[in-house]
Symmetry: C2
Subunit: 462 residues, 2 copies
């Protein structure tokens, strides 16, 4: 179906990008054959590391004329197999297109190449008192191109929204090998916003980004984390609801259940107080010119709400060192569960915020009926919960059953398969089964327009 990358074709690719941007040795390309999803491995025939838009465009032209697959790849931190070349062909890695081209402080916009590491943008923005608030847990290894392609979320979305809310402009190449662009350094856009929003979250199936514009926002002057341990996990969403009723505009409202904490403690070696309890983790940011005592009042109010909802204690972390420790634990969760408990799979179902308690119950029921423990954590503030079933050597049939059960539980509660990881390869079958067939049909037809030869990340989503 797809043509192989023969020596002749490799030579042609080299003439486009230069010899040193075409990798073919197994030792060089092996690391592009996996992402963070368990048990998937697809070797690319070659890995291309283009250096500019023009090279990407020419690669696409050549791929269309010769018919081989192109799979764009950011930091490779996907949990769904999305950047894996299931039909062979070339992986396009943006590791050499990793420059921030412009931070326009007067318009509060950043123009950059897709390979920029997400955390680097915020570090640059901070120099000008600006803030890029979207923070996937893989902040320091994922890329903004990958974030745009998955419309990535993270823990700060409660207050700040997802990548979708910051992506303001794109330059891209579609599967017809046509270059196109939309948006710009503009906040509000009723001119060419539709297709920009369509390709955000399309996981590289509709277009390859070559340049991106992101809106920056104001940097909070003060922030603090509140940590509240609860004996009963079921009380954590109740406390979260209480926080929301106070209109404190929290940045994060996160759950880490007992098993999650236990994995983190073992993995990071950090001492965690109340490590046998489930934790509610709240981050509050304050804008400018709020006095310290006014901010303390707000923290006190939030802390009181946690105690009233049944917290065993309340810890407030304001110093950079304390906060770093907390983020170290929080952002280690995925690896911690994988390494110490064994991750059978991690899903990121999303349900209405008011249904989170019910979802936790359903997860526990599945755990009890199958005998595999669950480590549950994630974004209470937006109903996007990461459910990990843990253990070792679970039989494939059992895994399938458990996945089906957790998806169906979420759907029954008015939820969806994925809140932020996307569909990729691992949820493709479920997407086709559980998403409205008319929606899937429309998406297929749209795909055909952007990529009639199906060369862009084939085999993903549907």
């Amino acid at each position: 179906m797809y043509r192989k990358l023969t020596e002749k074709r490799i030579k042609s690719l080299k003439s486009i990008t230069g010899d040193n941007n075409v990798l073919t040795e197994t030792a060089d390309i092996e690391k592009y054959s996996t992402d963070e999803s368990p048990d998937l491995k697809y070797m690319p025939e070659t890995v291309l590391t283009p250096e500019n838009h023009r090279q990407v465009l020419e690669i696409a032209r050549y791929a269309v004329s010769e018919k081989f697959a192109l799979t764009p790849r950011g930091g490779g931190t996907s949990l769904t197999g999305s950047p894996l070349p299931v039909s062979g062909g070339a992986v396009i890695s943006f590791e050499k297109m990793n420059n921030i081209l412009d931070i326009d402080t007067s318009s509060r916009m950043a123009v950059l190449q897709p390979g920029v590491i997400t955390g680097d943008l915020d570090r640059q923005a901070a120099k000008y008192g600006l803030f890029y608030p979207v923070n996937p847990a893989s902040l320091d290894s994922c890329t903004l191109g990958g974030n745009a392609a998955t419309a990535a979320g993270g823990a700060n979305t409660v207050r700040y929204g997802t990548t979708r809310n910051y992506l303001s402009g794109i330059k891209a190449v579609d599967g017809n090998a046509a270059e196109w662009q939309a948006g710009g350094k503009i906040v509000k856009n009723s001119t060419d916003q539709q297709l920009l929003q369509l390709v955000a979250g399309s996981e590289g199936t509709l277009s390859i980004f070559t340049s991106l514009v992101f809106r920056l926002t104001e940097r909070p002057e003060k922030n603090a984390w509140i940590i509240a341990p609860f004996r009963d996990t079921a009380k954590v969403p109740v406390a979260a609801a209480k926080i929301f009723s106070l209109s404190l505009n929290p940045t994060m409202v996160e759950l880490m259940d007992r098993l999650t904490l236990d994995c983190c403690r073992k993995y990071t070696g950090e001492k965690i107080e109340f490590d046998e309890y489930s934790h509610l983790l709240i981050r509050l940011d304050s804008g400018g010119h709020l006095s310290s005592s006014a901010f303390q009042d707000i923290l006190f109010t939030a802390g009181q709400a946690c105690l009233q909802a049944g917290a065993e204690d309340v810890l407030i972390a304001e110093s950079a060192a304390e906060q770093e420790k907390i983020w170290k634990i929080r952002s280690s969760i995925h690896d911690a569960i994988k390494e110490t408990c064994g991750s059978i799979f991690e899903e990121d179902v999303t349900v209405p915020v008011g249904q989170v308690s019910q979802l936790l119950t359903e997860a526990r029921n599945i755990s009890e009926s199958t005998g595999y423990e669950t480590a549950v954590y994630g974004h209470l503030g937006d109903g996007n919960i990461h459910v990990n079933f843990t253990g070792r050597n679970a039989p494939a049939k059992k895994i399938k059953e458990m996945k089906k059960s957790i998806f169906e539980a979420a759907l029954k509660l008015g939820g969806k398969l994925s809140g932020e990881h996307g569909i990729g390869l691992t949820k493709k079958d479920y997407f086709c089964r559980y998403v409205d067939p008319s929606y899937v049909n429309l998406l297929r037809k749209v795909k055909k327009q952007f990529d009639p030869e199906n060369i862009l990340n084939p085999g993903k989503i549907f």
Copy 2:
């Protein structure tokens, strides 16, 4: 090209919706032949007022089989001719599908029919301490269906974003007469968000909405308006930039220039101090549990910044009565300019925030070279500026020239044709001329998939 709505077809439509939901008398349908754009009038052959999803679906089926045009219409407040039936056929008015079906307080979501008036949603939400923050100036006459179809903005978008950021679920009928749905009562969605975001802002050209889900947010406890008059309009954006540098997270940052104020004063009869000056209007909202004195400190800081930037005075409005007066003036602007100065046209170009000063200069230059005064107002905080050229009986050729000049000025500054009004009919030619041809080409192809017979709001956007 389109079939006429003969008596036989009208009879069939009556069998779908009931006799009283099919209007054909001139006296009944005339008001659907215009919107708020100047000088446009297109009579529909009939106006349908369906009462539920099923009726809309059957209307679409019948329209596809008989090939006549369907033009969905919300409150008719568009400034672009978007809801006008340029190819005749039926206007679908959602005036009888105007129920809020559910306000889910635990998930902070509202489920509603597309004909609900935008202001009504916020009034309902307020009963539960919740907030729907998107506030187009036509708040009390526009509908949420229309807002979704145009991805409407408004003055609060600086802090809260546009309709696009709140639209969480849709049920719709496309031009194949297929019903489809996406999203739900969920905040974060990486499952079926792409097409939802695609049809938001599609102005009824891709699908007709029959049910919508909107996210609600926390209601600010305190708010205040700051009004600062400036002798020199050019200093207003400078003051706005100063406000942003303070990280106060303002809700609105608006400009009303001298002529705008003058029109408002005459039109509303309200006394306006410093009415010969341009005004900066800022709204600040505060979250929960901020003491009055802490909020006063913030207001004082913002006021000082205005004075330092050259304001003649600073007025702070905290009482409901004062705020109502300000909103009355602010939301009257469009009508005020039209009635008292004569509106040649109003455009809503959008530029990078840092380029607003330059845009104001360009508008003044066009005004001086053509001899028609400009009234300029709008959203300094997001670079979306409403430029009105005023006067009476401007010749068509002159109008065309002036429009072209202001669009080209915005484009030269890295901006776009429209920040929130959309393209509709009035900017269609400019869309095709100034938007990336590859973008237009892709959008055409997408349209063809959603609406192969071109029955949905034909003749709009491109």
